[in-house]
């Protein structure tokens, strides 16, 4: 595989190794995120999904290997320059924030000296929270709170959004709504997404899927092509039957 800088790859991880307290956790990881792609990252609990997300966003610095954002080391960017290109939302969002939706979303403009392209009201409207704009974050439902944070990243205007398990704790309706919203943003604004998730029933929504196990990339590609009974048995250790459907979705049965 060649690792030449590809203009279509927003982000590349090259041979990344990372350890916690001396014990290796991520080893020899190579990963490319293409422009405008809706990418998923799956793997069992403890497989390193969150760590990979944090390395990718520049929060954690790998022991060795490179994290390249638009072909340049992510740690060589100034904080505000990096923030204009890539944004990250962790799995757990603080429930007791004193801010209103408007106050929260307006923080997305912090990396900018001059106001960003879209206004706070526009960002809030894109996620459908215009009626809650003056509501305190603490009074929103889980799904609404997640959307409020996404509105903040929209104002931030980064071309790549990393979301660590945003679907956890959301009911099926909010899950579908959030995925639709993100795909819609990809269509309208060309935003690329890397999302870590647990629910394999949702993977057919993604253009591209990364499967990790024990800190290593096991498999990547179009979910409809790469997800097989053998792969799931190997990665998760459970026997699942996979039924590809005619409409391009997938059914799983134990």
């Amino acid at each position: 595989m060649s690792w030449e800088v590809d203009a279509l790859n927003i982000l590349q991880l090259r041979d990344v190794c990372f350890s916690y307290d001396g014990s290796p956790f991520v080893e020899g990881l190579n990963l490319c995120i293409g422009e405008g792609l809706f990418c998923g990252l799956i793997g069992p609990n403890g497989s390193g999904k969150s760590t990979i997300m944090k390395i990718t966003s520049g929060i954690l610095t790998p022991d060795s290997g490179d994290v390249l954002l638009w072909g340049k080391d992510i740690h060589s960017y100034s904080g505000s320059d990096r923030a204009k290109l890539i944004s990250y939302l962790p799995q757990l969002l603080d429930l007791k924030l004193p801010f209103t939706v408007r106050e929260l979303v307006s923080m997305g403009a912090y990396p900018y000296k001059i106001p960003p392209e879209i206004t706070v009201a526009e960002a809030v409207e894109m996620v459908g929270l215009q009626n809650e704009i003056e509501s305190p974050i603490s009074e929103l439902s889980g799904g609404e709170r997640r959307r409020a944070f996404i509105a903040m990243t929209l104002l931030q205007g980064a071309g790549l959004i990393l979301l660590d398990e945003p679907l956890a704790n959301l009911d099926i309706r909010f899950q579908i709504e959030l995925i639709r919203l993100l795909k819609d943003l990809r269509e309208k604004k060309g935003i690329s997404v890397l999302m870590a998730l647990h629910d394999i029933n949702l993977i057919y929504h993604f253009d591209y899927l990364f499967v990790v196990k024990e800190g290593r990339l096991v498999c990547e590609g179009d979910p409809l092509e790469i997800i097989t009974e053998g792969l799931l048995s190997d990665v998760y250790g459970v026997e699942l039957k996979v039924y590809p459907q005619e409409d391009g979705t997938m059914l799983f049965r134990v």
Partner: protein, 324 residues
Amino acid sequence: MNRRTVKSSFLIVVASLLIVGGALFLGPHFINPFGMGDVDRNVLLGIRLPRVLVALIMGAGLGASGAVLQGFLRNPLADPYILGLSGGAALMASGGILFGSRLFGPFSIPLYAFVGSLLTGLLVGFMAYWRRGFWPERLLLAGVGLGFLFTALLMLMMSLSTNEGLRRAIHWIFGDLSISDWPLIPYGGAIVAGGGLIGLWRARALNALMLGDEIAHSLGFSPFRERLLLFISVGLMTSASVSLGGTVGFVGLLIPHIVRFLTGPDARSLIPLSAFSGAAMLCLADLIGRTVLSPMEVPAGIVTAILGAPYFLYLLRRQDVLGG
């Protein structure tokens, strides 16, 4: 800034100015600003004005540092003294008072307090640094731990002491503005202003840190660097105010909450308005303290607590403090 913030800010500023005017001319001895004699002028310039200025500087420093600290520790119970800074200051200052040390003339006691507070700050900061991070929980625990140690040492020193400095030391610990003197005011004012400006300069980072370190990073801030700067801001403001007039409770803990109720949580307005309100609050408390039982004086720290705590508890019943 929304309408509520603008309106409340205006009220806070007007109220502060009225209180300062009151503190200058009212008191056990009324001064008529339009018919001052020589005695009145001497009282005003030699006693009242420095005292009012010290109350303003201390109150502003404590209010603003409370606002910064509660934000970056993400803890509504944090006050500037929780980091042990006042403990270190009290230990050094009381040592100076009890042993009658006058190495630096009239600057001695405030200087000991300032050095004690800064050394404690360095120690707490050193303890809180761990794995390339500067962690709120470690800051709090280190501050509380050192605070207990210093209080114990202070008690030990006081219980062994027999000289007449004891009463003065106790007075200092409770916040004694009657010792305020002109020469200290420019230094105290400059240090509090410097700390306050650092806090204001990093106000956006402070808002972002309240969303969590990872989101702050995603918005372009380095949590380590920002917390260090904010810690320096708090350290400077708290140390300077403790050195000027001892430890005054309530202002640093509750003023930021009251301002947050009135104007919202954005640090860009919360820091300056907490400074204004803290200054006005302490000024008012000092005016009351030196007037009600005149010629006896009630320390300002005791007045702030007696007046402020019930108001805070009233707000607590009416509104949601933690936003949750």
